[in-house]
Amino acid sequence: MNASEAAVRDRLTRALRERGDEIADRWVQLQRERAAIDIGEGELREEADSLIVLLGGALNNSEHGMESVVDAHHDLRDAVMELSLRRERSGANPTATSLAILALKDAVLEAVQRDNLDPREMFPAALMINRLLDEAAALSFSAYVERREEIIQRQSRQLLEMSTPVVHLWRQILAVPLIGTLDTARTQVVMENLLQSIQTHEARVAIIDITGVPTVDTAVAQHLMQTVNAVRLMGADCFISGVRPSIAQTIAQLGIDLSTILTRATLADALAAAVEMTGQESPTAGAPTNR
């Protein structure tokens, strides 16, 4: 069995080396037929050539078993991952990329067949090709998932960092536009940032805009109340703006008492009220003067 496997490997290696051009042409053709791939023919051909050479080299190296040929050969592995990345950038979905790699099976098998192989040898050869390229296709898919995972993690980190900006909106007036779900950890970050800014800017009014908060449940309402109370304890006033009708309904249904809290429908309304409260000239009456 080992001897026969070695023979099949040898045969495939030879086919990849001697009929490399054919295989590459056929693969490019198949890819263009089967998957809508937006990559130029020249580039596809170049990619095919180098991958076929690497596959041949990997098969020729009999140190590793068939279970993980791709994984064991770093240059081959890198080439597959690079291919996966290139396809993703060209707009191909991960399924199309996997199918493109699997199309190489047909190209190789057709070439091997042309060598007038004994049917008894043909079957193990087909099996080996299958295993090899299935592994490559699976790798391209998991590489795709990994890249997505990375993006998601990076974005959620960035999101948390950027999610609580305190904006100095007007003289003595600060605003925090909240976007996304409010949980305990975020509320605490918001509270700390806001209160620190109130002290730094000697602000008299803070506006918390919840236009971007999708839902308000009991916990979120409680967090909002805490923040408003903390602002008030500092000696500033606090508006909540951007309360959408659906949220107002939820709050009413939950029986949460927000009656002590100053609310406005929009950030603009809240700003106008805040300006009035601080006894300043209305922003709508013209640009702020230095008076």
């Binding site: 109130i198 000697e202 008299r204 008030r232 500092m234 000696g235 006894g279």
Partner: protein, 137 residues
């Protein structure tokens, strides 16, 4: 209880406003004694306003919170308005999380704004704020 211990907290009179401050080391007895003395001074001096600077307080627990709330109520009954000024952000956050809202206690960002709210015109920098609230002698 009133004069059982020396009063460490000075209460200064400026016109009809009493200005004072709480310090960190205040224990419960001293806090109670302070509240009593302040109430007596409000009555005796017919103060219209009281400014309590708490910018040096590093924590406020439910006892101090209760003292401040009661002080405000008593002062109001005596015709004076109490403003608690200068609460530090960590203290405000902790109080809010404790669920203590200091209901009925007026607050100001710092002593200066508290004095302004009590009717003291802040003379040195007139242009900045524009029209403030009405001033009082």
């Amino acid at each position: 209880m009133t004069d059982s211990r020396p009063m460490d907290v000075p209460i200064i009179r400026l016109g009809d406003v009493l200005v004072t401050g709480l310090i960190n080391e205040l224990d419960d007895k001293a806090a109670t004694a302070f509240a009593e003395e302040l109430t007596e001074r409000i009555a005796a001096e017919r103060a219209k306003g009281v400014l309590i600077d708490i910018s040096r307080l590093e924590i406020i627990d439910s006892f101090v919170a209760r003292t401040l709330t009661e002080l405000s109520t008593m002062a109001r009954l005596l015709g004076a308005r109490v403003i608690v000024a200068g609460m530090r952000p960590p203290v405000a956050i902790t109080l809010a999380e404790l669920g203590l809202q200091l209901a009925g206690v007026e607050t100001a960002l710092n002593a200066e704004q508290g004095m302004v709210a009590l009717g003291w015109r802040h003379a040195p920098r007139p242009p900045e704020g524009g029209n403030r609230r009405e001033t009082l002698g």
